[in-house]
């Protein structure tokens, strides 16, 4: 089994990287992951790039809502209130 092997290879590193970032590797897996990183420039770069990817994706937060949509939703609220009040009045009769 490859988990029994002592050292991780790059091919395995790229598949474990999210578990590493999520903190879900076991302690021994984590040790082996970090040992490989310390010795491998390419995987260190790959990790940097995954972090940069996460950061760049986080910068995609969309533009604010268009004013037209806001008006439409305010209108939705008023219609709903009117229905509620009507329903309430009927119920009290």
């Amino acid at each position: 089994m490859f988990w029994q092997r002592k050292e991780l290879v790059c091919l395995q590193m790229v598949e474990l990287i999210t578990d590493y970032l999520e903190g879900t590797l076991s302690r021994s897996q984590r040790r082996r992951f970090e040992a490989h990183l310390a010795a491998c420039e390419n995987c260190t770069e790959y990790l940097r790039q995954m972090r940069a990817t996460i950061r760049l994706t986080g910068s995609l937060r969309a533009e604010d809502m268009e004013p037209a949509m806001r008006d439409e939703l305010t209108e939705l609220y008023r219609r709903w209130r009117a229905e509620e009040d009507e329903g309430g009045a009927t119920a009290e009769e």
Partner: protein
């Protein structure tokens, strides 16, 4: 009490401004999430509007066991899913296979064609060259389940736990989808920015 809780309390008391404030806080994220389930922005907007109506009707029943955001996104996801199914959009499980092409590693599993460097200037180019648009396209090309998880986690900033609650998937599943989605986006960025 956090800001959402305060607004929910005011909404229950019939404060229209509280509703508008909740809409402002959550609408953009909802449109993004809905957009990963249905085929067009117009349908996504409809799903979101329908969700807000569901919120108004259900707010008295919201028990506060989960956060308002989680509750809201669950309503949204349920509606978006049933709409997506109605328009026969396939619910892809995601792709399989390694996240980095095998041909980039040698027989021992070490990098043969290592990652090309691009991190250094990505921030400048994000602004200057419309990298954001390209990243948006790459996000749109992910299999739907991966896109849902990446949007909720990395664009909207939900925790892994919240994403599991909203999408009703296991933590292991969430991690696999996140891993595949992020790895694809990294590759897209490398293809765009590397070797220049």
């Amino acid at each position: 009490m956090d800001e959402d809780e305060e607004l929910v309390a005011r909404l229950r008391a019939g404060d229209e401004q509280a509703f508008v404030a909740l809409v402002s806080r959550h609408h953009a994220a909802m449109v993004r999430v809905a957009g990963s389930f249905v085929s067009s922005p117009a349908i996504a907007e409809e799903v979101v509007q329908d969700t807000w109506l569901g919120v108004l009707r259900g707010i008295d029943g919201f028990a506060g066991r989960s956060s308002f955001r989680t509750w809201l996104l669950r309503i949204l996801v349920n509606r978006a899913r049933s709409t997506g199914v109605r328009e026969h959009r396939s619910i892809a499980v995601g792709d399989a296979g390694p996240v980095v092409d095998r041909s980039r590693f040698d027989a021992s599993g070490a990098w043969m064609s290592p990652p090309q460097h691009w991190v250094e200037d990505s921030d400048d180019r994000l602004l200057a060259e419309g990298l954001a648009d390209q990243l948006q396209v790459a996000l749109g090309e992910l299999p739907a389940r991966q896109r849902e998880v990446v949007v909720l986690r990395d664009v909207d900033g939900l925790s892994g736990r919240e994403v599991c609650d909203v999408l009703e998937i296991s933590e292991a599943n969430q991690r696999v989808l996140l891993h595949r989605g992020r790895s694809h986006l990294r590759q897209a960025l490398e293809s765009e920015l590397g070797s220049l």
